[in-house]
């Protein structure tokens, strides 16, 4: 290998072989150990899951256009919201950013050739597929109507309308998906710890890696508890061990402790990678060093660790004791601080910046708007007395959609547009991408803002029928859902279109300084033709716009 060259533009004359053209055929993808191909497969798979979950959502909202029967029956409605929740949570949001974007970007941003365990990585993708198949079979078999939380005793007794097979298939699906998630997390932790090239210190890592690292920590520490919990549900259902069944002295509230010990940290699995993406989007498009790098990095880890101590705030009205509720409420407030720190730091990054308004940045702005609302409404739910009123109402629905959709989904789209030139080697068209960002923003607010009002007025969630006084809100919400759906379709259409008609992407179209903008677009099999220079990944002053390639180049 030649000595390290400081200029990183690769000669355009020799047509370099990249990871997409490296080999051909179905098997070359299905059996690939390349993290980029696995990332792309994850991207396709999770996007399909998103469209599936989105379809359920559209059907749900359509049913709620009017009280009483609109298009589906009680039972179908219950199955729809169960699968909407389960598919979106387990198949889309949890793997969406870390497993798809993270898999693709993490080794490149780190300057490594691959993740530490490529075979485990591929296995984790197939675990995802198997889990998805279990979910689909639950849908096709007999329907699953327990809600994505599988609360006992509803899920463990014959009281519900879904059959054994549906619940066992779905919980098996969660179990398998859990392992997919654990293996991805484990892989990332090991990669970040042991595969950093010389010069890449902890505080030289882009913030996306800090976020992914924190996420991976949660995946490894929390997911096993979910695994044992759903395993106990399966055993309960099959054999009747009575652990969560009051008839045999079991305890349904204990189930909720088990479930939320995983599922609250899981909320941070969903949002932390989004924080990482936004940190990248904002600093790159502001062409300015991120403000307060260490505070953002530490706040990710702080959120990951504090996230383990607050699960009881899902249970203030569940029959949990007063003392536990009070303790959990107090700890919950502490998690507001690292989240707020991030928002303030991003804002400060925009100060004296030089902002390019491309589609990823619009998504980042809409993230800041929506996540701020999502975060602030969390305060109402961590406060004990207001939560007693708001718990299990549409207020909660609106709050977590502001965080998960307004947060994670916009970050997912933003990150996808941002890194799309790197992933596909093609530039997307800016105008429809901006339209999609706009539609998602408007549609989202229209869908979920009325739900805050509904919830405060006392409209409980998971209701098939509702009182006539809520109809107006529901109709606004339904219209919003259509707009949101349209926005998502425009976004995907823009990306697909670019694959065929897009201009060839330069190495560094946005002027990013982290390592992924030093390797060609799309990257070759081992990511870098020559060892990359590790420098300050937020120092944009070294970059200069090059008219010829329509991209940025390092000046020094």
């Amino acid at each position: 290998m030649a000595t390290v060259d400081t200029t990183t533009t690769y000669s355009p004359d020799s047509k370099p072989v990249n990871y997409l053209t490296q080999s051909h055929g179905f098997l070359s993808w299905a059996m690939t150990l390349d993290h980029k191909r696995i990332g792309v497969m994850y991207l396709v798979a999770t996007s399909v899951a998103f469209l599936l979950g989105g379809t359920f959502a559209i059907l749900l909202r359509t049913e709620l256009w009017a009280p009483g029967h609109t298009i589906v029956s009680h039972d179908t409605y219950n199955q729809l919201f169960t699968l909407h929740g389960a598919v979106m949570v387990f198949l889309f949001i949890i793997p969406g950013i870390p497993a798809a974007l993270g898999n693709f970007m993490l080794p490149i941003m780190l300057g490594a050739k691959d993740v530490a365990f490529p075979r485990l990585n591929l296995a984790s993708f197939y675990f995802w597929c198997v889990g998805a198949l279990f979910f689909l079979s639950a849908l096709l078999l007999t329907g699953l109507d327990t809600g994505w939380t599988f609360y006992t005793p509803y899920s463990t007794t014959e009281y519900n309308t879904s059959k054994d097979e549906a619940i066992i298939a779905a919980t098996m699906g969660v179990f398998v998906l859990g392992f997919s998630s654990i293996f991805t997390g484990l892989n990332f932790l090991v990669t970040i710890h042991t595969m950093r090239p010389p010069g890449m210190g902890w505080f030289h890592m882009p913030l996306f890696l800090w976020a992914t690292y924190s996420t991976a920590l949660i995946q490894v520490l929390a997911t096993p508890v979910l695994a044992i919990t759903v395993l106990l549900i399966i055993v309960e259902r099959l054999m009747g061990i009575g652990i969560f069944n009051p008839v045999y002295g079991g305890d349904p509230v204990l189930y909720q402790h088990f479930f939320w010990f995983y599922s609250h940290p899981a909320v941070y699995i969903m949002i932390l990678p989004a924080f990482g993406v936004i940190s990248e989007l904002i600093s790159v498009n502001c062409h300015r060093h991120i403000f307060g790098y260490r505070f953002i990095a530490y706040s990710s880890v702080a959120i990951a660790l504090l996230g383990f101590l607050v699960w009881g705030h899902h249970m203030f009205t569940s029959g949990q004791s007063k003392i536990a509720s009070v303790v959990f409420s107090a700890i919950t407030f502490s998690i507001a601080i690292p989240s707020a720190v991030k928002i303030f730091n991003w804002l400060a990054t925009m100060y004296k910046a030089s902002i390019s308004f491309n589609a990823p940045f619009l998504y980042a702005l809409s993230f800041m708007f929506l996540f701020t609302i999502g975060g602030l409404t969390g305060l109402f739910l961590s406060t004990l007395n207001t939560d007693v009123h708001l718990h299990d109402t549409y207020f909660v629905v609106a709050h977590f959609h502001y965080v998960m959709v307004g947060g994670s989904l916009t970050a997912f789209f933003g990150g996808l547009f941002h890194w799309w030139p790197k992933i596909s080697g093609k530039m997307y068209s800016e105008f429809p991408a901006k339209v999609s960002a706009f539609l998602v923003f408007i549609g989202f607010n229209l869908t979920f803002f009325p739900q805050f009002v509904m919830g405060t007025r006392g409209m409980p969630r998971r209701y098939y029928n509702y009182l006539p006084e809520f109809q107006s809100f529901h109709q606004w919400s339904t219209i919003g859902a259509y707009v949101l759906g349209l926005g998502a379709i425009v976004a995907f259409a823009t990306l697909v279109h670019s694959m065929f008609r897009g201009k060839k992407a330069p190495t560094n179209p946005w002027g990013g300084a982290s390592l992924e903008w030093q390797c060609p677009s799309p990257p070759p099999l081992e990511n870098f033709h020559e060892a990359p220079t590790v420098g300050d990944c937020y120092d944009y002053d070294r970059l200069r716009y090059d008219e010829k390639t329509e991209g940025y180049v390092m000046t020094k």
């Binding site: 691959d114 530490a116 490529p118 490894v220 096993p224 009747g240 061990i241 652990i243 045999y248 002295g249």
Partner: protein, 279 residues
């Protein structure tokens, strides 16, 4: 390979950036050195063990909560378990842990025969463990000491229930060991013989007694599944070591499987007193 040569190779690889790799047959392309590969694998394995600990923690938390809230269920239920079997299995697993650790040592030193031998012994121990578990499980099934829904002790007078015959033989051995230990265990010995050899619970079951057996079966069952997974993993290692894959510069898989096997042992070290001993 002599120690000297090993040291030299390590040094050569320790200084990165030379660019010329002497990739061993089992070194993955994306690792710079065998050391990096080994460390990555080892850290990955430890993370996997962490994951296992949290996986089991669900059951331990469950045990703790029921144990504290309903001690009577445990006091009654644990009498249905045969301490002797539990003790034998503990010793068997500890011994297999020893042989596993020894196997890892052999792999590290490049002693192929020793490696194969100790892996076979470990497998044999795992087999014995499962055999004893099978006997125990059958006894429970026979007497209806099952989990909550099927809990239905058949014998009205458990004192009459005959313990399976191996138990008696082994009891004698254990008693002998105990009496060899000296004075204070004499009391225990007396207590043991005074109570006779019944292994059935005394008195009628308290309400929800089946929960004890739910806990017993889920905990030991999950552990047994891990033992079976361990057997599969050790067999894989055994095949590879017969083929001569392992040596001082590449023994990661043996080490990782070893770690897993010790964790299985570790879980049992807690299960044994929690289920069989604590009254």
């Amino acid at each position: 390979m002599s120690d000297h040569a090993v040291a030299e190779t390590t040094d050569a690889h320790a200084s990165h950036g030379h660019g010329h790799h002497e990739h061993g047959p089992f070194q993955a392309h994306h690792f710079e050195t065998p050391k990096q590969q080994f460390d990555a694998g080892k850290f990955g394995m430890w993370l996997f063990l962490v994951q296992e600990v949290l996986f089991f923690s669900g059951l331990f938390v469950f045990y703790a909560i029921y144990r504290i809230n309903h001690p009577e269920i445990f006091e009654w239920g644990h009498q249905a378990l045969d301490t002797t079997y539990g003790a034998i299995n503990t010793i068997v697993l500890l011994f297999s842990s020893l042989t596993m650790a020894w196997a890892v040592r052999c792999a590290q030193l490049g002693k192929k025969n020793g490696l194969v031998f100790f892996l076979v012994v470990t497998l044999a121990c795992a087999g014995i463990f499962l055999g004893v578990k099978y006997v125990e499980y059958s006894a429970k099934f026979e007497h209806g000491y099952l989990w909550a829904r099927y809990f239905n002790p058949t014998s009205d007078n458990p004192h009459v229930a005959e313990p399976p015959s191996i138990s008696k033989e082994v009891d004698k051995v254990v008693e002998k060991v105990e009496s060899d230990l000296g004075d204070h265990s004499a009391a225990a010995h007396d207590a043991h013989s005074a109570e006779g050899h019944h292994h059935g619970p005394v008195g009628p079951p308290p309400p929800n007694a089946g929960v004890f057996f739910s806990i017993y079966f889920t905990m030991t069952g999950l552990h047994a599944i891990h033992v079976i997974a361990g057997i599969v993993a050790i067999t894989w290692i055994l095949v590879r070591s017969v083929k001569g894959h392992f040596g001082p510069m590449y023994f990661g898989p043996v080490d990782y499987v070893g770690l897993y096997w010790h964790l299985v042992d570790l879980v049992w070290i807690y299960l044994f007193p929690m289920l069989y001993l604590i009254e």
